[in-house]
């Protein structure tokens, strides 16, 4: 059967993608950000996934104000990198495991998670930056080296789904994957965060203490993490810090006990605290 063997949490700051695309990762500003990804890329080669289930948010690229699905599952054959106003990122087209995606959609809906199904969709930096972090430099002619099932979560218009709901969705994703007969290795990514506020007079807010505590409880006491309120995210981590609910989807899809094999935290990348975890399931 298919098995989720690891969960990866990763910020998806667009500037990380820009730094890679413009080959400026050796600049002093970026060195401490990318140093923390060196282990991850080696680990990823040794633990190569067949499929990545990638939880991210679209930044008004595909879903403008006219349509705001809370959970949208990518079921198309492939997803092209989107033009976000500066031309599309020069990275490969993202290819889906379409049969597994359809199975997950069906399983989740029967499990009472009412998903939106996307049979045509482009993907923005929210999805491609974490892939770049884990798979390294790629050109449009390359292959990512994995199939990807995207799950777009609304975190732009308040309220995002609650931490608790995201965690429960993760548990349902685990059930869906484990009921697929093919023997394949699946990784799940929870992306976005950590603390950041991009807007208004309080822009630039970073809460490193909170971020580190969040990583601790997410790993070791997820039952506590799933109870974090939206108000706490907004007040303590900035208006855009609420993206961290997506890390709860990842955590919910793992076993109760996990091994933290890697943690990286750095401030800043542009306006944002970069946080990154690799968690392995026991057994």
């Amino acid at each position: 059967m298919a098995k989720i063997t690891a969960g990866i949490a990763c910020s998806h700051v667009p500037a990380i993608g820009v730094a890679m695309d413009q080959h400026i990762t050796e600049q002093p500003y970026w060195v401490p950000v990318f140093e923390g990804f060196e282990f991850s890329r080696e680990w990823n080669k040794k633990n190569k996934p067949d499929v990545v289930f990638l939880v991210y948010n679209d930044h008004c690229t595909v879903f403008d104000a006219s349509c705001i699905p809370t959970f949208a599952l990518g079921c198309a054959a492939e997803f092209a990198p989107a033009d976000e106003g500066w031309g599309a990122r020069p990275v490969p087209v993202v290819k889906n495991h379409q049969e597994l995606a359809s199975h997950i959609a069906q399983s989740l809906i029967l499990d009472e998670f009412d998903m939106t199904i996307m049979n045509e969709m482009e993907v923005d930096h929210g999805l491609t930056v974490p892939l770049s972090v884990m798979f390294g430099d790629k050109t449009p002619e390359d292959d990512w080296g994995t199939l990807v099932i995207p799950l777009a979560v609304n975190v732009v218009q308040y309220p995002a789904p609650t931490a608790n709901r995201c965690y429960a969705l993760g548990q349902a994703i685990k059930r869906a994957v484990e009921s697929w007969p093919e023997d394949i290795n699946v990784h799940i990514y929870g992306t976005g965060g950590m603390s950041h506020q991009l807007q208004a007079q309080r822009a630039g807010l970073i809460n490193a203490t909170w971020d580190q505590q969040f990583m601790d409880i997410l790993v070791n006491e997820p039952e506590k993490a799933r109870k974090i309120s939206h108000l706490e995210f907004l007040r303590e981590t900035g208006s855009e810090g609420i993206e961290m609910v997506m890390w709860l989807v990842m955590r919910g899809a793992l076993e109760e006990k996990v091994t933290e094999v890697h943690r990286h935290y750095h401030v800043p990348a542009s306006n944002t605290a970069v946080g990154h975890l690799i968690l392995e399931n026991h057994a």
Binding site: A65, D83, E84, Y158, Q201, A203, G204, S270
Partner: protein, 130 residues
């Protein structure tokens, strides 16, 4: 509008359904600038391009003024208004500096030094004391 539990967070516009409703056409105008054909139309004739969207006069004026916080106050969302910033060639971090009333260099230095501390920035009452 009913009072909301997040109304006491200072310097923050939580983009909820009320703001989304108020800012709908403003945001749709901004996001149109993600496409080159629309950027060209806006360059050629700003008023004519704005007229395609049912914005209020206040919203149009805030666009003309590039008053970034006013745009948020009138229902704009940062992921949308940043497309107008990009149209002007303003990178995201500089936009953040402008909205927080800091110079580009001061803002950048604050971020490199660890960002804006949450201490003293959690409640409006903390700002009123300053």
């Amino acid at each position: 509008m009913a009072e909301k539990e997040y109304d006491d967070i200072p310097g923050t516009y939580v983009f909820d359904a009320d703001r989304s409703r108020q800012g709908y056409w403003l945001n749709q105008f901004c996001i149109s600038l993600g496409k080159e054909a629309n950027r060209q139309a806006f360059r050629d004739d700003p008023e004519a391009h704005m007229a395609k969207f049912k914005m209020t006069e206040e919203q149009k004026q805030a666009v003309r003024d590039r008053d970034w916080n006013r745009l948020l106050e009138l229902g704009g969302n940062i992921y949308y208004t940043s497309k107008l910033g990009a149209f002007d060639g303003i990178v995201f971090q500089d936009l953040a500096a402008m909205m927080s009333g800091m110079s580009r260099d001061d803002y950048r230095a604050m971020m490199v030094a660890g960002g804006r501390s949450p201490d003293g920035n959690r409640y409006k009452s903390e700002w009123e004391k300053k």
